[in-house]
Symmetry: C2
């Protein structure tokens, strides 16, 4: 029988492989959501792993209570030990295809048959990572929006081989913990969130490169318009509302001409096209080193307001 | 001497021309920020103007106190009467070039020499609107992010003829009222905010049209990732932070390859390409008629958190 990984997970064992920023951010998330009887295991090949984790992980709780369980993390010394009794094995290693292919083949040898196998990759599809596995139905990309201990989104990107029960169990896990797991139906390049963000970034770079606005001004524009708007209602919902009773169709009827003009006039610069010096320099001069703790604290407050509102409108519906 | 239009504006006269959604939303904004001795005048060619304004305007204050001054609005019956003693004349009429050209030529005949002349257009540059004016230095596009009584952004888009004092006075006006006026340096098609939002919308449509995600899922993705992120830190600041100590340059060093792959793979569909039926239908089925009052109420709360945080970090710096 499969382990029940929703709220009733009294004895859940989660293993994290890889201790970069994403891996440790996931560790922080799991520590805040594990029940006492559960176990978090961390594995990485670095020799100072235990000292490194104990020193670095508390930084992810800046301004918040550090869970007592931080001292109860199991530091594994071999991959076999790390995965042998795990219910969930979550990989956040280097973005290197051969490394991941070798890892999953080994994990498969040692892990329980029904353990969920998740990769945090931002670009390497599960179908490629699973190449050397016997059972390719088990692997699923679970791509976070950085940092995952703060941001609610998880993109679940199965390969064509991934079984639907793996997808469902993974959705249940994250939903039970208040997160937003979205099933991406195809192994699209860059998945969805990054594709959306990067096309906007491309246009932003084009406008700064052309001298229309500065880096600072462009960010102020986004922070005082579509940022807060899209935090509350995504682009389709927003433009559907913008079209009045005729919805998105009405919106395009009203200003489809302007939309098309913007599309036709959009920049199409590429990495290496020579905009880098100007844009990188402006970013450096404007921001120096960003206080990420401050950003995360404010983001938490915004997300709390949004969650509160969501819960209260759910209650109104019930 | 020019009228001082910052905080000490005891006797400010503001005239709004046009009573569509944008015009009335600006009316709501001004009513909340005018001092008692000041005057808001509204002009439009519709015959039932007074009844229409008194009936429609209160809807913009849903859930909030309606300012007493709503009954003190001056309803003008001719353009001459509307503008003859105004300090600010703000036009939110139809997006029609000949209409706007004729309007500004008439306004110029009747308005005080130092009155600020603003157009809310989302697409027609000031240089074209001013064609029939004697003094083309006076006109400025002041493009809001809808609805302006809620959203902080104003894009100030001068023509090459617009005087720098008109730009400065306009910035002072909005800053004194807690808004974010950004000076756009060129008359770019669609200005900046819409260009950014529309390239993301284009990719969003492409992903829904290709079956990668649904309209509802795409919105959930944005609402749980870049929406709240960009409300707190715009795209450049976010990716500059994402690059660690090496900043935006480090970010591109790390994942510039993935960024370029997303750019190369981005959709390039156009209005009329046949995606409309599917996408419009999904939007209708998902959202029906959006409760804009609810959206605005939540947006206000998010913006309050952001303003509070901005003020407290300003105080820390002082």
């Amino acid at each position: 029988m499969q382990h029940e990984i929703t709220k009733a997970d009294a004895n859940l064992e989660i293993t994290l492989i890889g201790t970069g920023t994403i891996g440790l951010s996931f560790a922080a998330f799991h520590l805040q959501h594990l029940s006492d009887a559960s176990q978090l295991t961390i594995y990485d090949t670095r020799p100072d792993l235990e000292a490194y984790v104990q020193e670095t992980l508390p930084k992810f709780f800046e301004g918040q209570t550090i869970p007592l369980s931080i001292s109860g993390i199991n530091i594994a010394t071999t991959l076999e030990e790390a995965v042998t009794s795990a219910h969930i094995i979550q990989e956040s290693g280097p973005e290197n295809l051969p490394v991941k292919q070798k890892l999953w083949a080994e994990v498969e040898n040692h892990a329980p048959k029904d353990a969920l196998l998740w990769s945090s990759t931002s670009g390497i599809p599960a179908s490629q990572q699973a190449q050397n596995m016997q059972d390719k139905t088990r692997l699923l990309v679970v791509h976070p929006y950085n940092p995952p201990h703060i941001m609610p989104l998880l993109e679940l990107v199965p390969s064509p081989q991934t079984s639907s029960s793996v997808i469902t169990r993974t959705q249940d896990f994250w939903r039970a913990r208040g997160r937003v797991p979205i099933h991406i139906k195809q192994e699209t390049t860059g998945f969805v969130a990054n594709r959306l963000a990067f096309v906007l970034l491309r246009e932003a770079i084009h406008l700064v490169d052309s001298g229309v606005v500065s880096v600072a001004e462009l960010d102020q524009i986004v922070e005082s318009s579509m940022g807060p708007r899209w935090a509350v209602a995504g682009p389709f919902k927003s433009y559907h509302a913008g079209g009045g009773p005729a919805g998105l169709e009405g919106f395009f009827k009203n200003i489809g001409g302007t939309v098309q003009e913007c599309w036709s006039d959009a920049g199409s610069l590429n990495v290496g096209d020579g905009w880098e010096d100007k844009v990188f320099r402006q970013a450096r001069e404007t921001y120096g080193v960003v206080d990420v703790g401050e950003r995360d604290r404010i983001t938490r407050r915004v997300l709390e307001v949004l969650k509160e509102e969501q819960n209260s409108s759910k209650q109104r519906v019930l």
